[in-house]
C-alpha cells in the first residue's frame, strides 16, 4: 500500500528512487501507513486472533462501506476549498424522506430519485449561500446541519403512527436490504463498490482535466480564476456532489438498518472529516489530499471502533481517539510544512 501511495503522491514530480523512499516515510502516506500498522498491531495484541477472523473483517468493512461512499463524495468539496458540515444531517434527512415516501406506497426507485433530487436541492442552497453570496462555508453549512436535523425530525413525525416508533420510521425493503447485506466470500459488496469508487475518484482527481481544475480552485482560487477556470461553477458542483453522496448514504442506511432513525448520522460529519484529514485533506484549504488517503484514514477509525467494540469498552472512547488522532495528524502535517496558524 505504501508504494502505491508514493506513486500517487509523486505523480506530479519526477524524483529519484531514494527521494521517493524518503518522501514516502515522512509524507502523509508514511504517517497513515504507520498509524494503520500501529492500530492493527494494537488490535492484534490486545484482542488476539479474533482481529483477523473473516467475520471480524466483514464487520469492519461493513461498518466502513457507507461512510466511505459519503466521504468520497464529500472529499470533492474539501478539494475545491469548501467544507460541507451538513452531510451528517443530510444523511438523516435523506433516510427520512426516502422512508416516508416508501411508507406512503410510492415505488422504491421513484422514491430514491425524488429523495436524491430534494437533497441536492438543499445542496444547491448551500452552494448559493457560499458561492453566490460568499458566505463562510463553515457557518453556512453549520446552519444547514441544524436546519436539516430539525426538518428530518419534523418530517419523521408526519409518518403514519403504525410505522413509527421512538423517532424512527421503520420499514423493511427486502431488495435493498439484500443488496446492502450481500457479500462475496467475506467482503461486503457495498465495500467493493465503495473501493471501486475510491479508485475511480483517484483517477479523476489525478489524471483528468476536471480533477486538476478542482484542485486548482481549491489550491489558489485567484490564480484559477485568472487562468480562466469557472471557479464558482466548480465550487457549486462540488457542493452538489457532497449532498448527492450523503443522500445515497441515507438511502443505503434505510436498507441496511430497516428503519430511518432521525438521529442517524449524528456526528458523522466529524468522523468523516477527521478521517479525510488523517488522509491528507484539509478543511481549511483546498487542493490537497487524495481519496486513497481518505480511505485509509477511515480504515484507521473503523479498526479502532472495532477494537473498542470487541473489548466491550465504552463506544464513546472512539470520540476521544478521533479527537486526539486528529490533533496529532494535523500537528505532523504542520511539522512537514502544512499551514500553521500564525
Amino acid at each position: 500500500m505504501s508504494t502505491n501511495l508514493t506513486k500517487l503522491a509523486s505523480h506530479d514530480h519526477k524524483m529519484s528512487s531514494v527521494e521517493k523512499m524518503k518522501k514516502s516515510l515522512s509524507g502523509p502516506g508514511g504517517t497513515i501507513v504507520l498509524g494503520l500498522s500501529i492500530i492493527i498491531g494494537t488490535s492484534a495484541l490486545w484482542v488476539g486472533k479474533m482481529t483477523f477472523t473473516s467475520f471480524n473483517i466483514y464487520l469492519i468493512l461493513g461498518y466502513l462501506a457507507i461512510p466511505l461512499i459519503i466521504g468520497i463524495f464529500a472529499s470533492f468539496s474539501l478539494l475545491s476549498g469548501v467544507v460541507d458540515l451538513s452531510i451528517g444531517a443530510m444523511v438523516a434527512l435523506s433516510a427520512t424522506i426516502f422512508a416516508l415516501l416508501c411508507v406512503n406506497g410510492i415505488n422504491e426507485w421513484v422514491s430514491a430519485v425524488i429523495t436524491i433530487i430534494i437533497c441536492m436541492g438543499f445542496g444547491a442552497i448551500n452552494g448559493t449561500a457560499i458561492v453566490v453570496f460568499g458566505a463562510n462555508p463553515i457557518a453556512a453549512t453549520l446552519g444547514m446541519l441544524v436546519g436539516l436535523r430539525g426538518l428530518a425530525r419534523i418530517l419523521s413525525r408526519t409518518a403514519p403512527s403504525t410505522s413509527t416508533s421512538q423517532d424512527a420510521i421503520s420499514l423493511f425493503i427486502t431488495g435493498l436490504n439484500d443488496f446492502t447485506e450481500s457479500q462475496i466470500s467475506f467482503i461486503p459488496v457495498l465495500f467493493i463498490i465503495a473501493l471501486v469508487l475510491v479508485f475511480v475518484t483517484q483517477g479523476i482527481i489525478s489524471l483528468t482535466r476536471g480533477g486538476r481544475h478542482i484542485r486548482a480552485v481549491g489550491g489558489d482560487i485567484t490564480a484559477a480564476r485568472r487562468a480562466g477556470l469557472a471557479t464558482e461553477r466548480i465550487k457549486f458542483l462540488s457542493l452538489l456532489a457532497s449532498s448527492f453522496g450523503a443522500s445515497i448514504g441515507g438511502i443505503l442506511y434505510v436498507g441496511k438498518l430497516g428503519s430511518a432513525p432521525v438521529t442517524l448520522g449524528t456526528g458523522m460529519e466529524f468522523t468523516i472529516y477527521a478521517a479525510l484529514m488523517i488522509g491528507g485533506y484539509s478543511i481549511l484549504r483546498g487542493g490537497v489530499g487524495n481519496p486513497m488517503g481518505g480511505f485509509l484514514g477511515l480504515l484507521i477509525i473503523a479498526v479502532f471502533a472495532n477494537l473498542v467494540d470487541n473489548k466491550g469498552l465504552d463506544i464513546r472512547a472512539a470520540d476521544i481517539f478521533v479527537g486526539v488522532l486528529l490533533l496529532v495528524i494535523v500537528y505532523l502535517d504542520i511539522r512537514r510544512g502544512g499551514d500553521a496558524f500564525e
Partner: protein, 330 residues
C-alpha cells in the same frame, strides 16, 4: 484599532463608519425582534405575560453568556471556539462534585471556574505552541472532551437546597436572578472592547494580526488570553446552568453550540475577526431566545425551533457576506 491608530494618525472617519454600521445592525435586529413579538401578540394576545418574559429571559441566560465568550473569540481573530460547551459542562459537573465533598460555595465556584480555565489553557497551548488552527483544535478538544464527559459522568444531581440552586431559581427586580450576570457581562464586554486599552488590543489582533504584532502586541499572549477567557465565560455559563438544571446530562451542550454561533453571526461579528458589537449581540441573543416561546404560541412543536434557527443562520451569513462584498467591491 482605531483608538490605537488615532493616537498617531488622524482617522476619524473610520471610527464613525464602524459605529454607524453597528447601529444599523442593532436597529435591524431590534425591528426583527419587535416584529416577532408583534405577530406573536396578534396571533395570541396572552403572549405578553410574565410567563413568556420568564421563559425568554431563562433562555437568554445561558446562550447570552456563552455568546459573549464566543464573541470574544471571534472578535479577537480566534475564529470560533467549538469546545465552549465542554467548558460549561466541566464547570457544572465540578460544582456538583465539589458540593458533594462539602466545600463552601465561593470556594467551589472559584475552583470549578479554574478547571474550565485549565481546559482553555490546554486549547491555547495547542493553538499557540503547536500552531494548530483554533477551529481544528477546538473541534478535536470539543469532540474528545465531550466523549470524556460522557464516560466519566453519567449525570450530575444539583442539591435543590444548595445556594447555587437558590440563585438559579430566584427572581431579582422581576427577572430571574440568573439573567443579571449575563446583562452585566454584556455591558462590561461592550465597554471593555470599546474603551479599554487591552480591549482595543484584542480588536487590533483580530483585525490584522501582522500589523498588531508590528505595533508591539504579543500575539501569543493575546491568543492564550482569548481561549482561557472563552473557557472562563463557558464556566460562568456552567454556574448558571447548574443553578437551574436539577439534573445535568453530559450531552446537554449539543443544544447550545449552534444557537450561540448563530447569535454571534447574526449580531454582525465578522468571522474574520476585528469587527462586532456586544450590544448587537445582546439583541440577537434576545431575538433567538424569543423564537422557541413564540413557536409554542403558534402551536408548533419545539422541533421546529432547530429548523428555523438553522435557516436563520444561513440567511444571516449570506446577507453578512453579501454586505461585505458590496462594501469592498469585487
Amino acid at each position: 484599532m482605531t483608538h490605537l491608530s488615532s493616537s498617531r494618525f488622524k482617522v476619524p472617519s473610520l471610527r464613525k463608519s464602524a459605529d454607524s454600521e453597528y447601529l444599523a445592525t442593532i436597529l435591524i435586529l431590534l425591528v426583527v425582534w419587535i416584529f416577532l413579538v408583534v405577530i406573536s401578540v396578534i396571533n395570541r394576545s396572552d403572549f405578553l405575560s410574565r410567563a413568556t418574559l420568564s421563559a425568554v429571559t431563562f433562555n437568554m441566560c445561558i446562550i447570552g453568556i456563552l455568546a459573549i465568550g464566543q464573541g470574544f473569540v471571534v472578535i479577537s481573530g480566534g475564529i470560533l471556539d467549538l469546545s465552549i460547551t465542554v467548558s460549561m459542562l466541566i464547570t457544572s459537573f465540578m460544582i456538583v462534585v465539589f458540593y458533594d465533598l462539602g466545600w463552601n460555595t465561593p470556594l467551589l465556584i472559584i475552583v470549578s471556574l479554574l478547571c474550565a480555565g485549565v481546559f482553555g489553557l490546554f486549547n491555547s497551548i495547542l493553538v499557540v505552541w503547536l500552531r494548530i488552527n483554533p477551529l481544528i483544535v477546538t473541534l478535536a478538544t470539543g469532540f474528545a472532551g465531550g466523549g470524556l464527559l460522557l464516560i466519566v459522568f453519567d449525570r450530575g444531581l444539583v442539591d435543590p437546597k444548595s445556594s447555587i440552586a437558590d440563585f438559579g431559581t430566584s427572581y431579582l427586580f422581576g427577572l430571574p436572578t440568573a439573567w443579571w450576570p449575563m446583562a452585566l457581562l454584556t455591558i462590561g464586554a461592550h465597554f471593555f472592547f470599546k474603551y479599554s486599552r487591552v480591549g482595543r488590543h484584542f480588536l487590533a489582533v483580530g483585525g490584522n494580526p501582522l500589523s498588531s504584532k508590528a505595533m508591539g502586541i504579543s500575539l501569543k499572549r493575546t491568543r492564550v488570553a482569548t481561549f482561557v477567557g472563552s473557557s472562563i465565560f463557558g464556566g460562568i455559563a456552567g454556574i448558571v446552568f447548574a443553578g437551574f438544571t436539577p439534573e445535568i446530562r453530559p450531552n446537554a451542550g449539543e443544544y447550545y453550540t449552534l444557537p450561540v454561533i448563530a447569535a454571534v453571526v447574526l449580531a454582525g461579528f465578522s468571522l474574520a475577526g476585528g469587527r462586532g458589537s456586544f450590544l448587537a449581540l445582546f439583541i440577537s441573543v434576545g431575538f433567538l431566545s424569543t423564537i422557541p416561546t413564540a413557536l409554542v404560541f403558534f402551536g408548533l412543536e419545539s422541533i421546529w425551533q432547530t429548523f428555523i434557527q438553522g435557516f436563520i443562520l444561513i440567511i444571516a451569513v449570506s446577507i453578512d457576506a453579501y454586505r461585505i462584498v458590496k462594501v469592498r467591491g469585487r
